[in-house]
Amino acid sequence: MTAGRRRARVRRGIEFLWMTAPAVIAILLFVEVPFLMSVMYSFTKWNGLDKAAKFIGLANYKELLATDPAFGSAMIFTLVFTVLTVITINVIALLLAVILDMKIRGKNVLRAAFYVPNIISLIVIGYVWRFIFSRGFDSLGSLTRMGIFQLSWLGDTHLVFFSVVLVSVWQSIGFYMVIYIAGLQTVPRELLEASVIDGTSPVGRFFRITLPLIMPSVTVAVFYSLSNALKTFDVIFSLTFGGPGTATTSIALDIYKTAFSDNRFGYGTAKSVVLFLLILVVTVTQLNTFKRREVQA
């Protein structure tokens, strides 16, 4: 190798280094190192204040799997919540997208209306609905005399589950609707027009032509709704703070409480490793299953 070429290689190397190093350092410092630390701390007993954490092997994992009712109920809540919200969100968002993709008057304003809750912070959304459930439903109840408005939507341990689902769905539908509208716009018009001539019914047309063609959007939307539901936190934090009792405590909120209220940092990190594994397994499975269903136009 000549000196000139070597110098060029060194120069390219230096350029590569200073262009990528800042990003790599930021990611290492604030995501990857903390994540690896979490995995390590999950084998320790650590209260966050002591300098040294005490190694206790798998004791944290044994505790959370076998003897911690709080984590068990958080797990069940999160899984049921996830199934219900993912299905509801995707069905309604897809339906709205199909309707608002038609040539109807005012569709841009209508799309914006359904999208608006998505640009408001989840923490504020929770408070808005606390107001609606308490004061708003009071007034609606005395006005309409309908029973559903007179129930205790945030006080009843069973009903509160549906309140949390309702608010989460309400907040996020707009986002998924937009993903589906983007997908619908990629469906070739000729294919749909051909099927009109063939005399296929609109419903048959949707299931046999449109839906298979927008499977990539379905994959993306289900992926996002799944991982967001599995790590749901903010809305619950402001709407119920996991209550009444632990009725609406999600895994993410349970981790927060374990670490920052009970000061059991080591145990909290074990829970957070479980959450990571749960989300990883669920979303990778989902992506694999859904990708196989995607077809080309």
């Binding site: 995501v31 701390y41 209508l110 808005v128 007034s139």
Partner: protein
Amino acid sequence: MRRPRGAPAISLLMAVLALVYIYPLILVAINSLKTFAQIMENVMAFPFQLRWENFANAFTLMRYPNLFLNTLVVTCMGTAGVVLLASTAGFKLSRTRTRVSWFVFLLCVAPMMIPFHSFMIALVKVAKTMHLTNSIWGLGVVYWGLGVPLSLFMYHGFAKTVPAELDDCAAIDGARPLRAFFQVIFPLLQPVTVSVIVINAMWMWNDFLLPLLILGGAKKSQTLQLAAYNFFGLYKIEWQNAMAGVLLTITPAIVFYLILQRHIIKGMVAGAVKG
């Protein structure tokens, strides 16, 4: 496609549905202008005299101007940093075809699969060690690490559409690499930059948990979302001030949305599909 039969009927039906859908927000607006007694009496009634004092109260109670500025600083600093780090690294990694480059790329995008809640406890410790806690500047810096992976991934994908001849042009002109990048390449990446700005700005403006952890928001709140949290956490909620506070908190995001509506929708979809 033709206008479907019954389009006016669908239009009308959807308009009614949309109104019901955003009715909770309409109620917030109505009740932000009432007295406490009027709210307790009937939430749906229109306010007969408009109480603008509620807004003045919320304005002072939340220390709105201060916190607005704080939130703006965090958002701008976080977003600017993410754009800078992600564009340079994303472009360079896309141009360099070596095994090292591929490894670095994987290292940079793998965090997209790590949920925030699974490393937040240790992140607080790291931030404390680096003296980044209790400071809005520190918060802005932490956002760099959290925001770069997705943004870098988007830049990396888009950089392939920028012809490689341009790199050489810039080099032959004798421009220093840094200047060449920002003068020649960066402007061509503008579509991604817009998406990256939108995604990150909306997220950082509305984020709650990271500010809570880094700023320890319990007593004196330092961002608007933390202020909303403390405002509502009061023992006895003064609904009229709280509703005005909600409106004040969400207005900046809504204005941002109305101005950049098209870009926001496009950016959100791009981020979702690319991610």
